[in-house]
Chain length 130, copies 2
Amino acid sequence: MNISEVAGRTGVPAKTIRYYEEIDLITPARDPNGYRSFSESDMHKLTFLGRARTLGFSIADCRKLLALWEDRSRASGDVRALAQEHLAEIERKIADLQAMRDTLQGLVTACHGDDRPDCPILADLARGPS
Amino acid sequence: MNISEVAGRTGVPAKTIRYYEEIDLITPARDPNGYRSFSESDMHKLTFLGRARTLGFSIADCRKLLALWEDRSRASGDVRALAQEHLAEIERKIADLQAMRDTLQGLVTACHGDDRPDCPILADLARGPS
DNA sequence: CCTTGACCTTCCAGTGACTGGAACGCCTAT
DNA sequence: ATAGGCGTTCCAGTCACTGGAAGGTCAAGG
């Protein structure tokens, strides 16, 4: 399989696939003409990577997950631990964003939003780190 | 004021302050010895920037906000519009993260997490983009 | 007066995870 | 033969810093 077919099938852009090869996440074979030739296994890995990335795993995490995936003797507990760590981080991000949202929401509500120059949003931004 | 005092007072790291000068967000004066000399106005701007950044505004947004802040004749509606746009983006990010969290949570719950190699998390990751 | 150590300066390189573009080769169909 | 649509590599840029090296400056203590 050539790169664009794999890109289409996995949803991972060709540029990104080349990048993944560069950082040794995958090592597709080469045809005599120099074109990358993707096996089913390469496709599976890319699918795996695409999914893990949309779930917000970092490339470093993906590398670990791929290794665990390829290791038939690994304990599912190892995978679970990684996922749980990641889950905690997501929870943290959500909380941060919600705090941001609440602050901004309050400011937007307080701002009359007309042609007058008086603006509580800028006033608050100037107030400094509380 | 020297850079480290400003860093301490605004909470913006010295490295970051130099970077902000490099990209023309601030233009502190210089002492004869070449040291940066920060005015009250510089400090206010940095405080403003620090706060806006923790609220998740991009540097580009910060530039706009600073300009609006400095423009005494600007309408508060302009600021409000910027904040509202940003709010919408935050909401989007929160929704994305919540979807991720739900998926991962389900997987972590489904995974027995013991020494057996059978793992629904990896199975799902392999399933591909749904 | 000299030294020490904490500051300050600039400049260069690296991060993460791509993304865009140039310049070129290859393959297929007309 | 040629057109276009693939493929390749390599270089540069993104964003917002961050780390580190090499060197100048300043205030205090001996």
